[in-house]
Amino acid sequence: MTRWAMVADLRRCVGCQTCTAACKQTNETPPGVQWRRVLDMEVGEYPDVRRAFVPVGCMHCDDPPCMHVCPSTATKKRADGIVTIDYDLCIGCAYCAVACPYQARYKSDADALRPNVATKCTFCVERIDAGLAKGLKPGVDPEATPACVNSCIANALHFGDVEDASSNISELLAENQHFRMHEELGTGPRFYYLWDKAQ
């Protein structure tokens, strides 16, 4: 079974926001809506201060709270793990937005394509589906890969099938130590952060 996931190598990310721009251009999101963003975080106290750039967005959780709370069934989860929103069903109640622990959901009246309904990162699902139809491999072939991953100048973002032991991201996860954000909440996010090489 295919399970799409994303990997961000925190050692490589330089916070350039190229992924943010690529996402905005590809998905035509309005001002103030960033399905992919890169946080600039400082941790510690002088003189021991560390800085990290952290890409965030929809984590396409295994057990997405946004889907459970949705009263209209607009939010669904595909068999390949991608969490989708049916913009024609969504009533824009924003219940999903308060249920998401990753602040990944938006609702904007300035969104010309999706006005006043919930929106979020789709893992560029149209690119994935179109690429698969052409026999391409998402995460390997750029045409079938999310725009943010393609655009990353530091090769910090990766995409692939986490269930396939020989996939690019499975190898990265095996070679490196990683974590997932807010794992204690039990949502099973499919966005992995690499922070050190494997011991």
Partner: protein, 258 residues
């Protein structure tokens, strides 16, 4: 100390959503109190239904696609918002019947009203992105505030000993629910409303309720104190205490490791 995107107050649900919890909760509580202690009158039923309708109307104004509101009924399997909507339909149907035959239908309407506020509590509990809402203790808090405010409202119509006793019990339950919730959730935005709730809305209201057995007007004052403090707490809970989860890095990147 860490710098970065810290948790912030959610901007998705504002006063309009809060009004659903405030007015809907009070209206439902009024139906319950009326069924228990004042079943002969139609006025509390009418007011209760009006408050619930006003709360739902307020939240309808908040949704992005108002003409699709009917889609709220689609997911009763997992969504507490859908379940709340079904409970509301039941409340209005049984409430309308109670206007015709109060003695016969008011207990059933009160049962539906209890289900309605239970769903409201569960709506908050299922909001996993807001730590102050997802605490399990929030359900009893929402239900008990509804019961106390509803009983307080009912005191505006009549002050029977049975109703005063129910009001007192609801206040004690609300005080207990708040204490239990506050032990689990520390939120600075709730400090002032909680003080008012405990001092004016519970201790003060109880004192006035006891006076209400002998002094005219004291019971109404007690009811007003319970209502206003309860409404303030719920307003603060939805709009002021709703810090989101924020972001967190359990590990920092080890530079130069590859």
């Amino acid at each position: 100390m860490s710098f970065g995107p810290k948790a912030w107050i959610q901007q998705h649900w504002d006063a309009r959503a809060a009004l659903n919890f405030m007015l809907g909760g009070s209206g439902a509580g009024l139906l319950i109190a009326a069924a228990l202690a004042y079943p002969a009158s139609r006025v509390p039923v009418l007011v209760g239904l009006g408050l619930i309708a006003a709360g739902l109307g307020a939240v309808w104004l908040e949704i992005g696609r108002k003409l699709r509101a009917i889609n709220v009924f689609v997911n009763p399997f997992t969504s507490w918002m859908t379940r709340e909507s079904f409970a509301a339909v039941l409340v209005f149907a049984l409430g309308a019947a109670a206007l015709w035959q109060p003695q016969l239908f008011l207990p059933a309407a009160a049962g539906a009203a209890l289900a309605f506020v239970f769903c409201q509590g569960q709506i908050l509990r299922a909001s996993k992105g807001i730590p102050a809402w997802r605490a399990p203790q929030v359900v009893l808090l929402i239900v008990s505030t509804s019961l106390a405010e509803g009983a307080g409202l009912c005191l505006m119509f009549t002050t029977t000993p049975l109703l005063l006793t129910w009001f007192g019990l609801a206040l004690v339950l609300r005080g207990f629910a708040w204490t239990r919730y506050a032990a689990a959730v520390k939120n600075p935005a709730l400090v002032d409303p909680a003080k008012a709730l405990l001092q004016i809305g519970t201790v003060g209201a109880l004192a006035f309720a006891i006076l209400g057995y002998w002094v005219t007007g004291a019971a109404e004052l007690a009811g007003a104190a319970a209502i206003l403090t309860g409404l303030w707490l719920k307003f603060a809970l939805v709009t002021r205490a709703s810090l989101n989860q924020g972001f967190d890095l359990p590990r920092l990147p080890v530079r130069g490791a590859r």
